[in-house]
């Protein structure tokens, strides 16, 4: 549902190929891995863009965005992205990527099991630390 909802909002059609979120099926471990733009601190897509069409902005959330007035569709950003999360719209001849829906991602609302959440990057380490501590103390008694 996350992919369909994303495609409808961003492209106006039901076509998961145009979704900004990708879900990779990992047969090896019987898991699904959702992938979106990681909004890297030192984003390779920004460095690779010859037209400086990709920039990092900080309005409601920090994110990298594409300025379509400058983009020429050279696909350099697709090659540079380490996570493969930039797609290319063949109809428009332009790349696309997740922009976190301006800070309220639609995919999170449509993920009923709660596998997707939006977290402040500064808080991720604390959540991970707490989860790790809980795992380690699971067998201990007071």
């Amino acid at each position: 549902m996350c992919r369909t909802a994303c495609a409808i909002r961003k492209a106006g059609v039901c076509n998961p190929e145009k979704s900004r979120i990708r879900v990779i099926q990992m047969d090896e471990c019987d898991r699904y891995m959702p992938l979106v733009c990681q909004n890297c601190e030192d984003a390779p897509c920004i460095a690779a863009c010859p037209k400086e069409a990709i920039s990092r902005i900080d309005d409601q959330v920090v994110r990298t965005v594409i300025d379509y007035n400058k983009c020429v569709g050279c696909k350099m950003c697709l090659n540079a992205c380490s996570f493969g999360t930039i797609g290319f719209d063949e109809d428009r001849g332009r790349p696309f990527k997740c922009d976190l829906c301006g800070g309220d991602p639609l995919c999170v609302h449509f993920c009923k099991p709660g596998a997707l959440t939006l977290k402040d990057s500064a808080m991720i380490q604390y959540d991970q630390a707490r989860a790790s501590a809980l795992r380690r103390t699971a067998g201990m008694k007071r």
Partner: protein, 316 residues
């Protein structure tokens, strides 16, 4: 007037494919999924066909809303004449096949004939390829979700079907359907409202029509199968989803009539194929409810008011 939905007539014996669009008239009368499949089966299946022969049809149908936000996966419906009962049989298969089939460019596949050798059908962006396969076992070639059960299609020598495509399915009101489905998802966590006496008794209600009565529960199931949801849902939800996704405005009565029409078509087909003389629970059900050839197979009283008069020559 037609839509962007397409039907493929696949002749397995000759490896030929003929495609034609689903007309707006067909969409308004039967929606899609099991509704259109029943119509196509009545129209194309030879009279008194031996279910185990190559002449029997197998229709693979995606629901009317399959692949949309209302049914991102959607159940695929297989319709054929059963070798066990000799009557029209239907099986709903969950998984992403229906959505992938629509994205591959087809809503309905009518499989005719029998392939010479074991064949795999590859359906990709509006094209259907026939691939001969050797040594293929059930569910062993592709993603299990993309493979329909071997035994359903074994009589046609079709071992597997695989779909992939990038056809974009148009949405009439993108923001409207997002808001609607979001609200439905959020309401899952809310405690269910206690059933009123009316709601409790609704399933036992019956709908009367020119060809006899049908339980409302059966009507709801039929609408679910037409839409590719594979479950019952209330008429208002169904109507809202259809309107927001496709722009087709239908009210509750019209939805009921569509479901009624689809069920009656199946009954008429079964009566013609000799259910009255058949044994078993279904035949008893027909007899008890008075669904006989004399009562149901009438052009002016049943076929004309139900707008299925184009099937008169096939089903009389």
């Amino acid at each position: 007037m037609t839509t962007d939905r397409r039907i493929a007539l696949v002749n397995l014996g000759r490896c030929e494919v003929e495609t034609f669009p689903v007309s707006m008239d067909l969409e308004q009368r039967f929606l899609g999924g099991s509704g259109v499949a029943t119509y196509l089966f009545c129209k194309h299946a030879p009279k008194m066909v031996d279910p185990g022969s190559a002449d029997n049809l197998c229709i693979v149908s995606a629901g009317y809303l399959s692949g949309t936000l209302s049914a991102p996966l959607g159940a695929v419906v297989l319709t054929s004449k059963s070798t066990a009962t000799g009557l029209m049989a239907r099986v709903c298969v969950d998984g992403p096949f229906a959505a992938e089939m629509r994205r591959a460019g087809f809503d309905h596949l009518v499989l005719k004939g029998r392939a010479k050798n074991k064949t795999c059908l590859l359906i990709r962006d509006g094209r259907i390829e026939f691939k001969e396969v050797h040594g293929l076992r059930d569910n062993s070639l592709f993603d299990p979700c993309a493979v329909l059960r071997k035994d359903v299609l074994a009589a046609k020598n079709v071992v597997a079907m695989a779909c992939s495509g990038t056809v974009a399915l148009e949405v009439k009101d993108p923001e409207g359907i997002i808001a609607y489905e979001k609200k439905l998802i959020e309401s899952i966590d809310e405690p269910p409202a206690p059933n009123t006496p009316d709601q409790d008794g609704q399933d036992s209600q019956i709908m009367e029509g020119p060809a006899g009565s049908i339980k409302l529960k059966e009507i709801k199931q039929s609408i679910g199968q037409c839409l590719g949801l594979g479950c019952e849902l209330n008429f208002q939800t169904a109507a809202d989803r259809i309107l927001l996704n496709t722009g087709l405005a239908l009210n509750e009565d019209e939805l009921k009539q569509i479901a009624y029409r689809c069920i009656i078509m199946e009954r008429i087909y079964n009566i013609r194929e000799g259910i009255a003389t058949s044994q078993g629970r279904q035949a008893d059900d027909y007899r008890e409810n008075g669904w006989t050839r004399k009562a149901v197979v009438k052009k002016t009283k049943v076929f004309d008011p139900l707008r299925i008069d184009d099937l008169w020559d096939r089903l009389k």
